[in-house]
């Protein structure tokens, strides 16, 4: 069935080469074409089979198209089916020849047998040749009115196929209206379901151009339609049920009675044998109760058992997909699942990605009552044959320890790991002990005693080595041989390949020097000399920095390199809560399996209902790329923060910092340049950060630049006025959007009236315009909308750019604001939010 271009690929020796056989077939078909001999149908059937089997293995048999059509005049339904199959496959490549088939297909569309009528209609619509659409309208029209439901349901799908070939023909023939009527009145539920899926597709793509279509699409979510479908849900096939449930999940009920009615009606769907139905139902339940916290909890309780059953029953493929969803829920509400922790125990022969999910869930559900059992179980896995899982489970033990339950027992276990004499176990455990010490300095006595016994020669992995070196530096006063261990490490400087380890070595030897100067002085000298000669830029810079710092003043150097530390209270999470919420909104979709919201991975062309004009769609991609980068750099920052930071400030700050701004003081200079680079006027950036308006960068910059830039008390700025007749062409918007950094990123909730009033993007546009905020692009369908706004200051041409994503079902708006003049961005944000919250108010 490969397209012609493919057929040149050399077939494997077992497959026939094709050429000779095809011309042979052509000859035989031609002979049979006109034959009415008694056995003709049988021999035709053999030939057709051959043709199709060639087609299946990828040999191009389009050359016999004419002969196939000639032979198709037959009453034998199997022959017909094979012929339809063949024609459907090659018609697109041979539009001229396809015309030949129209005749017999049209005739078959009027056959007595509904089966043949249906099949012919399906094949007719599957030809997908643009210049033949005129022949489709007639048969489709009569097909939609056919007495037999089989023909009707084929015809409904045919309309959708027609729409994709030629949208205008489909709309001109008024088919959407016919489908709408059928959807609400047809007896057969499969016809109704097909109508629903066809109309959803047609109206979604029409909505951007036609007001009527977008109104029709809204009407699908109206109470009468939703109730009509819900009342018949048990008659639908399982797949159609999924479709209906997906629609219901988007429906916004008017009051809580309605919510409970729907949930009562759907409760038995949770016990359906088809996992797809169960998950779709769960999505409905979760979405409906999002605003009712206590009921939402009960929903979790209710859906727990079906999900756990789905995981343990179905095929392995199925259970992984369900497990991913379960994972999402467990991460959102771990306490609800804490009694079911045994379900997350790993079985020996499960694939490792399943085990990984389970480990994460075990970590999440740990609480006071089950920590002991869970940690015992995790320690079993540490001796596992599967080394990545063994590592993962040691990390899990560490994470649980950081959650503060029963630390005593866990520290003992971790220290046991250190004595297990397996290099990867030791390596992981070292990293963990380091994290533990940062959070619970009170355990240092016990840990250091064990860590001191580890020979640095046995530690090869750079992360573990770095952790060990950090501890050597940090607790050098408690470890008698710390300076000598460091010294021997410095002697092997050239053999150390990881820059990370070398950086740590520099810092550790500095710290050690402040505590035990006479013993370390020699090592420090050697380290600085080696660092200055290092080819790695960071290592070189740090060595130089330390060197000059020491030259300047030793006590200042100590304050910078080894300040008194606060224990870390919370380590930054790797996945931002916004991303997690996005994934939750996309429950029962591929996003959950990938643990990424769909905008991060689906093909942009197929993103679905978001429709922007060409230019603007580029823009939205640019914006996406920007938001894509943020979480990634944040993850890296986390990786670094554990190891690179020398000042060990409280990490919770990272959460609201941008990746680039996060670092130890000595990096601030570079961080500043990074932060300032994208800005057009770097001066304004500095003043703005000094005045403390931008939440990013400023903390870190203040620390270092507190001495450099005198923080002039900012004069109270005049109130911000916007230009009501601002103009900005899409091109420059796009350009600015790419250049400017995000200055404010916030979530804002909409008033319920506002969420209800937002049925089409246009409504909000008019409202915002009244507040001198103009829209440059908008799109989306209920409940998700996306807008790009801009505004200008009244007196000067300084722009504010806003990306605003609104979800009406949760009544939440996600704002990303960029500004030419950063200092005004907070003020503008307030202005924007006020305007937004007034939306929907009378």
């Amino acid at each position: 069935m490969a397209p012609p271009a493919q057929s040149q690929r050399s077939p494997s020796p077992s497959q026939p080469s094709g050429k000779g056989e095809v011309s042979d077939l052509k000859l035989q078909l031609r002979q049979l074409a006109g034959s009415r001999a008694p056995g003709a149908d049988d021999s035709k059937r053999e030939l057709f089979k051959k043709v199709i089997s060639y087609m299946t293995i990828g040999i191009d048999v389009s050359s016999v198209f004419g002969e196939m059509v000639m032979c198709s005049a037959t009453s034998d339904i199997v022959l017909k089916k094979m012929c339809y199959l063949y024609v459907g496959n090659y018609a697109k490549g041979n539009p001229d020849l396809a015309l030949l088939t129209i005749n017999f297909l049209q005739r078959d569309c009027k056959d007595e047998d509904p089966m043949i009528r249906g099949l012919a209609l399906r094949s007719l619509c599957s030809l997908r040749v643009a210049n033949l659409v005129e022949y489709l309208v007639g048969p489709l029209g009569s097909g939609l009115k056919d007495a037999n439901s089989y023909v009707r349901l084929v015809a409904v799908m045919g309309v959708l196929k027609l729409y994709h070939i030629s949208a205008s023909t489909c709309v001109d023939a008024d088919f959407p209206a016919v489908l709408k009527h059928l959807m609400l009145h047809d007896q057969d539920t499969q016809v109704v379901a097909n109508c629903l899926s066809a109309l959803q597709e047609i109206w979604s793509s029409e909505a951007s151009s036609s007001e009527e279509a977008s109104r029709d699409r809204e009407a699908l979510l109206s109470k009468p339609v939703v109730y009509y479908l819900l009342n018949r849900i048990k008659e639908f096939s399982e797949w159609a049920q999924c479709l209906v449930l997906e629609l219901v999940a988007k429906y916004v009920p008017a009051d809580s009675n309605e919510i409970f009615d729907i949930m009562n009606l759907l409760e038995d769907r949770l016990q359906h044998a088809n996992g797809a139905v169960v998950l779709a139902t769960i999505k409905v339940f979760l979405n409906l109760t999002l605003s009712m916290t206590d009921v939402h909890q009960q929903v979790y309780e209710r859906i727990k058992a079906p999900l756990l059953t789905l995981v343990s029953s179905g095929s392995p493929e199925q259970s992984y997909a369900v497990l991913s969803h379960l994972h999402l829920l467990v991460m959102r509400a771990p306490y609800i699942f804490s009694a079911d922790y045994k379900h997350f125990y790993c079985q020996y022969n499960e694939p490792s990605y399943v085990k990984k999910l389970k480990l994460e869930m075990l970590t999440a559900v740990a609480n006071e009552s089950n920590t002991y059992e869970i940690v015992t179980e995790l320690c079993e896995y540490a001796a596992n044959v599967d080394i990545p899982i063994a590592r993962e489970s040691i990390r899990a033990v560490g994470k649980i320890a950081l959650q503060q339950y029963d630390v005593n027992a866990i520290v003992d276990r971790l220290l046991q790991f250190l004595e297990m004499e397996k290099d990867y176990v030791t390596a992981e455990a070292l990293v963990l002990v380091k994290d533990l010490l940062r959070k619970y300095p009170q355990w240092s006595q016990d840990c250091i005693a064990v860590v001191g016994n580890i020979s640095s020669k046995n530690v090869q992995e750079s992360k573990a080595k770095a952790a060990l070196i950090w501890m050597l530096g940090e607790y050098s006063q408690d470890m008698s041989d710390a300076p000598y261990v460091l010294e021997s490490l410095i002697e092997n400087w050239d053999e150390e390949h990881s820059a990370e380890v070398r950086l740590h070595l520099l810092t550790a030897v500095m710290k050690c020097f402040f505590k035990r100067p006479p013993e370390t002085q020699k090592a420090l000298g050697a380290a600085l000399a080696a660092g200055l000669a290092d080819f790695h830029q960071d290592v070189h810079d740090r060595a130089l920095f330390y060197y000059r710092l020491l030259q300047h003043n030793v006590s200042v150097a100590e304050r910078v390199v080894n300040p008194p530390k606060q224990a870390v209270s919370v380590f930054a999470d790797t996945q931002s809560s916004e991303v997690k919420d996005r994934i939750f909104d996309e429950f029962n979709s591929l996003s959950v399996v990938y643990q990424k919201p769909s905008y991060m991975f689906t093909d942009k062309e197929h993103r679905g209902p978001f429709e922007f004009s060409d230019e603007i769609s580029n823009l939205s991609i640019g914006a996406e790329a920007a938001s894509n980068v943020a979480p990634v750099s944040r993850v890296e920052a986390n990786g670094n923060d554990l190891l690179l930071s020398t000042s060990d400030k409280e990490e919770s700050r990272v959460a609201n910092n941008n990746g680039s701004a996060y670092s130890a003081p000595l990096y601030d200079a570079s961080a500043l340049s990074v932060a300032a680079a994208p800005q057009t006027q770097s001066e304004s950036a500095i003043t703005s950060s000094a005045s403390g308006y931008t939440p990013q960068a400023s903390f870190a910059i203040d620390d270092l630049l507190g001495l450099g830039v005198p923080a002039a008390p900012a004069p109270s700025p005049p109130p911000l006025k916007l230009n009501p007749r601002a103009v900005l062409d899409p091109g420059s918007f796009q350009q600015k959007w790419r250049q400017l950094p995000i200055s404010v990123s916030q979530e804002h909730s909409l008033s319920p009236q506002g969420a209800a009033a937002l049925t089409t993007p246009q409504v909000l546009l008019r409202h915002m315009q009244a507040h001198s905020i103009h829209c440059i692009a908008s799109g989306g369908q209920s409940p998700n909308f996306k807008f790009f706004f801009f505004a200008q200051k009244a007196e000067e041409s300084s722009n504010f750019l806003v990306e605003c994503k609104i979800n009406t079902s949760t009544a939440k708006a996600q704002l990303n604001i960029k500004a030419d003049d950063q200092s005004k961005s907070q003020e503008f944000t307030t202005l924007f939010q006020t305007a937004l919250s007034k939306f929907g108010m009378p």
Partner: protein, 415 residues
């Protein structure tokens, strides 16, 4: 919405391709897929959803045949996976088994089936009973018939009545000379036993399989003596929800033939039927291994097909194992299988031997996990009992048969 379905043989050859929408999916995606599958091995084969550079692929593997579906849009993942699973089930029902040859011989039927099961990427009918009426299976009888009558069409002339009936899983006019219904309780026990013999987790997953051959449209009801032990249940669409909710009675109009009526889960069980006690002691580069097997809680019926399987760690160079009962087999990938079958009355089966470790290794660090298999006929270990099965309305004589059996699922003993 699926865009294309491929069937691949176990050598990666495309046996069948069914394009579903206007976005044609090039079959080079299969080459990509197979290259990945070969290079990444088993871990790749277990992933149900794969991101390729151009598409998202759903894969379901049954009997060496890979069912591959492609999509480029966001969709419920289970819809794709469940659908492919259904396709596999229907095909293996139609062709009486799945393998490369049978699919290649009957590819026309496979095309016909796919044509009815999915249209434009949306699944339509997947009920085997209805499909059987639209497209006759290629069985011996139809082959004979075609030879005798000369009419070789395997497509029935009439459309199935059930497509429009209110019981979509059953046709109205089924006739049998003998009315009979068989109910099977099939249970699988999953358990984890720690190295000190304590039960870490023990749970049963059970299914009720019904095979019904009853004239007309029968209305059955099935009740249990102890329905409360079931932790969570899932039903075939034919089961009515209300009677279950109020009285824990299964009331249903069964599809014709074999089907899965319900599945259930029973957790927190306390009595695994057999024990397996492994002992490993390392000393100076060798490791003594000793495994004892015996009955722990007698279920009252014969336990057979007992096997113990374990993977030797990579650091073991060679193994010398003997058993006083049953056969021991060591494969080249260091997988040891000890087949015991039944436990003899006079002595407890025991396996013993020595493992030679890698040079330089004093003792064993990585401990094998023992996977145990067994089967018990005639008893459902969860303790679930069927009380009675009634046929409403129909006064005809009905033969009812009940069976139960339990086998080990993931039953593992740690060391």
């Amino acid at each position: 919405m699926l865009q294309c379905i491929f069937l691949l043989s176990d050598s990666g050859e495309v046996m069948l391709e069914k394009q579903l929408t206007g976005h044609r999916v090039d079959r080079s995606i299969c080459t990509w897929f197979w290259d990945q599958a070969v290079s990444q091995g088993d871990s790749f084969k277990d992933q149900p959803v794969i991101a390729s550079p151009t598409h998202y692929l759903f894969q379901v593997v049954r009997e060496g045949i890979t069912f591959l579906a492609c999509t480029q849009v966001e969709m419920p993942p289970l819809m794709g996976i469940e659908f492919l699973g259904k396709v596999a089930d229907v095909l293996s029902g139609y062709l009486e088994g799945l393998n490369e040859d049978v699919i290649k011989d009957n590819f026309v039927i496979v095309y016909e089936l796919l044509d009815e099961m999915i249209d434009n990427g949306y699944p339509l009918t997947t009920e085997a009973n209805i499909l059987r009426e639209m497209i006759a299976p290629p069985n011996f009888v139809t082959k004979m018939l075609s030879v005798v009558t000369g009419n070789s069409s395997n497509v029935s002339d009439t459309l199935p009545g059930a497509t429009s009936s209110c019981v979509p899983w059953r046709t109205a006019d089924v006739k049998y000379a003998n009315n009979e219904v068989y109910v099977d309780l099939v249970e699988e026990m999953d358990a984890i036993i720690s190295r000190d013999g304590a039960l870490v987790k023990c749970e049963i997953y059970g299914e009720i399989q019904v095979n019904s051959h009853i004239t007309g449209v029968p209305d059955l009801s099935l009740s249990f003596t102890n329905p409360s032990i079931m932790d969570d249940v899932r039903f075939h669409p034919c089961v009515r929800f209300r009677p279950w909710e109020s009285h824990q009675i299964l009331s249903f109009v069964p599809p014709d033939g074999l089907f899965k009526l319900m599945s259930y889960r029973v957790k927190k069980l306390k009595s695994p039927p057999i024990y397996v006690k492994p002992q490993l002691t390392s000393d100076a580069g060798t490791c003594r291994i000793n495994v004892m097997v015996g009955i722990r809680n007698d279920p009252g019926k014969m336990i057979d097909n007992i096997t113990v399987q374990f993977q030797l760690p990579p650091c073991v160079l060679s193994a010398d194992l003997t058993a006083n009962h049953g056969a021991v087999n060591i494969l080249s990938n260091k997988m040891c299988t000890w087949s015991i079958d039944r436990i003899p009355k006079d002595r407890a089966p025991a396996l013993s031997g020595t493992l030679l470790l890698e040079t330089g290794l004093e003792r064993l660090h990585v401990f094998p996990v023992f996977q145990v298999g067994f089967r018990i006929q005639g008893v459902a270990l969860s303790g679930l009992h069927i009380d009675k099965l009634d046929l409403k309305v129909m006064p005809t004589r009905l033969y009812k048969g009940f069976r139960a059996h339990t086998r080990a699922g993931l039953y593992e003993v740690r060391t």
